[in-house]
Subunit: 455 residues, 2 copies
């Protein structure tokens, strides 16, 4: 039997961060990672394999073997088939058994199969798994196609459609309002405009019921419920992911909503010395406190750090208080970010809110070359002014601006706190200090509390 | 006598934000701004007037008159010569008297005259005041010069040197380590490299004692204390600013260190109904709690919002707890940001600290086109892990990344809090979730607390 003090099942970002963090904190402990494939893809980099930005699938590879060696971690290519929690050991497909003192399950997620779509397994139909071999085969096939239908208007669907379009393909996108779980409709409107300008046809609110095939069983079109057909050479089903938790379920770990493994604030499962992190572990929403099927590498790595920090003793008492569902993406040349809850979801959850929407130039004076329009929607609790949601559109700095807004939400700052927020403003880097959108939007909301009524 | 419910003296960003905020919160109140010149310059945009980015001084103008009209504010071009706090009125140079219920002093700052430099008032020697007429004359004169010496290695000095260089001038920069009040030496080293590559000669740690002049009294060179001379056609003295507070001092307002007007947490002076905001008002440091001569439009506008929010009643109880000295700038194509305290200053203040310095690519995978190196230095209290300083170098997103770090400092987050920080990471916008520098640097510091010792 192979023994490790710390054993990690999985090979994605959460697993690798768990391994690295364990080696940093506990250099005298042995750490082993069991993963299905030697190397891994940068998960959120997969869409860029299909466009002009990355030259090949190899450009998106993480050299996990090298990384593990550098960290002083043992990496074994092995598929885990069973866990014996009493004996504290894990059984591999190879027949080997792996003992552990602490076990971290980071088995990630796999594409959700849309069983309601007939012929979803036809030739020329692809999902977007995080499997290097699959993506290599898919990439080769897609390169030969001209007309492609992408089903799914979440992040992966839109990003792949964008890249395929940049690669010169004729692209149709099928699904609902763009990124509707992370953005309100006024923000989706910006996206629709860009997608349209790029020549991607968006079939809005259309349900795909069947993949049409030729006599050889190859996909040649997509059929909607209303009878309309779109001809194509291939179909990409970007219809979401589900936690990869068959193993966990089979071994009797306590499960939660959306097929996730139950974890507490310290990422502990119901079994002693067994932790779960990343897409396979339960997620609750920071604001609504409900279970939420958010899958994010950044959340996964945060959970990995928390689990490892608390592996032997609780070192981090104030811990994870739920996911703030923080996302960013790029469509065309425009960047989008979202954190917290949308106005639409807040209304569904019966959260009483106030919102403000502001647009400003992202340089000052606005005449400076390269100035972009920046738009921000800020949502706060109507009773306390606590910021509970933010959505931004603009240039490349949106990537860090949404992280700043996330920090504001995580710290439970109110719009009143934001009135005195200290920010660096610079002509070439930000909007003017007088118009800095986070502060202006906060003030718009605060003004409903102050003044006449406040005197 | 002209009467206004709310009277504001000054015309910079703090004054304009105070006026706008007052109109938003208290639409039934009359608001008047008394300012020396009709229009104003975007203060931090002034350096860009001298380079290729802005076409003329007019491109950097704020149309204050228009703005005031739009806000429903009265704007009067008037220099205030006296204040009668008992009578609640202000005397203008024109002879007019202006009554008020609430008075906000936002007189800003003016260039510090370096009296120790002989001939600092010679022909061809310029300061960098926020005065449109002066900058117009200066711009005309500078356009005709070939060799220019910039004295001062703070933000304005370096930015002007950078722009003059881009405009094809032969530029010498005289002063100490670049931006030494905001960056530690390893960060200044990046700047020195860029400045050198651009062909700007940096005369390090040289004291200018005299401006050499020709027989007509025109500047033709700069003489250092050690006897070395640098020939030139003109000199720009970017040797700092001082609060514009003669009026306040003359009228007997209580003053503080660095010639600032005393203000409490709500921006109130010692006189009832009289507030002071911006560069003319006292500043204390968020970490050291000492007086600090930081002058920032973003801090000034935050103070203006706080003052107006608390004008009639305390609406914002938790208020300003000191300036975090948050700055950003661009040198060449590289962006720099700083917030909180530097390691050097922390040591001077005998703050026991731990620091971590990390560099990562700002896109992931790093092979993506346009990927920049990003470097972060994070400084935390050695006893509590509270983040007290951050410095970043990288691409354009540094502008908002430093604001995120400022938000972290203002919220007194610890490195332990940052282990679970939720950030959005995206291939085209940020470093990888596994290497996000704020979290990695925090973990490097946290690792000194956790592990062997923590078990």
């Amino acid at each position: 039997m192979h023994y490790s003090d710390i054993l990690i099942i999985g090979g994605g970002p959460a697993a690798m961060v768990a391994a690295g963090t364990a080696r940093q904190y506990y250099p005298e402990k042995s750490v082993t990672v069991l993963k299905k494939t030697k190397d891994s893809l940068v998960p959120c980099g997969i869409p860029y394999v299909f466009g002009p930005l990355l030259q090949s699938v190899e450009d998106d590879m993480i050299p996990c073997g090298e990384m593990a060696a550098k960290m002083g971690t043992t990496l074994i290519v092995e598929e885990v088939v069973d866990i014996d929690f009493e004996a504290k050991s894990v059984m591999g497909k190879s027949g080997e058994t792996y003992g552990y003192d602490k076990l971290i399950i980071a088995t990630g997620s796999v594409p959700k199969i849309p069983h309601q779509i007939e012929n979803h397994d036809a030739d020329g139909v692809f999902f977007v798994p995080k499997d290097p071999d699959y993506i290599r085969r898919m990439h080769e096939a897609v390169e030969k196609m001209k007309k492609i239908v992408v089903v799914g208007t979440g992040f992966i669907g839109i990003e792949i459609a964008n890249e395929l379009c940049d690669a010169g393909k004729d692209v149709a996108l099928v699904g609902s309002r763009l990124l509707k779980h992370s953005f309100d409709s006024e923000m989706s409107a910006f996206m629709e405009e860009i997608v349209k300008r790029k020549g991607i046809r968006h079939y809005l609110d259309r349900r795909t019921c069947k993949i049409e095939t030729d006599k050889n069983g190859r996909a040649v079109g997509v059929l909607f419920e209303d009878g309309e057909k779109v001809a194509c050479d291939g179909v990409i089903l970007a219809t979401g992911y589900r936690p990869n938790t068959e193993l966990a379920r089979r071994t009797g770990l306590s499960m939660r909503q959306f097929d996730t493994i139950y974890v507490d604030e310290y990422m502990r499962t119901t079994r002693p010395d067994v932790f779960a992190v990343g897409d396979c572990a339960e997620k609750r929403h920071f604001i609504t406190k409900r279970g939420i099927p958010v899958m994010l590498a950044s959340t996964a790595t945060a959970e990995a750090r928390i689990a490892v920090t608390n592996l032997y003793s609780i070192n981090l008492v104030k811990s994870f208080s739920g996911t703030i569902a923080i996302f960013s993406t790029v469509i065309g040349d425009t960047c989008f970010g979202s954190a917290g809850i949308t106005e639409e979801d807040a209304k569904k959850e019966k959260i009483s809110i106030l919102s403000s929407f502001v647009t400003v130039p992202d340089k000052h004076p606005a005449r400076l070359p390269g100035s972009h329009k920046q738009a921000l929607k800020l949502t706060a609790s109507r009773s306390t002014g606590q910021v509970i949601g933010a959505q931004v559109v603009g240039g490349i700095d949106i990537g860090e601006m949404i992280n700043m807004l996330g920090t504001i939400i995580e710290n439970r700052m109110t719009v009143f706190d934001l009135l005195g927020l200290q920010v660096a403003t610079h002509p070439l880097l930000t909007s003017a200090p007088t118009t800095y959108p986070i502060v202006v939007a906060a003030q718009n909301i605060a003004s409903r509390f102050i003044g006449e009524k406040g005197q």
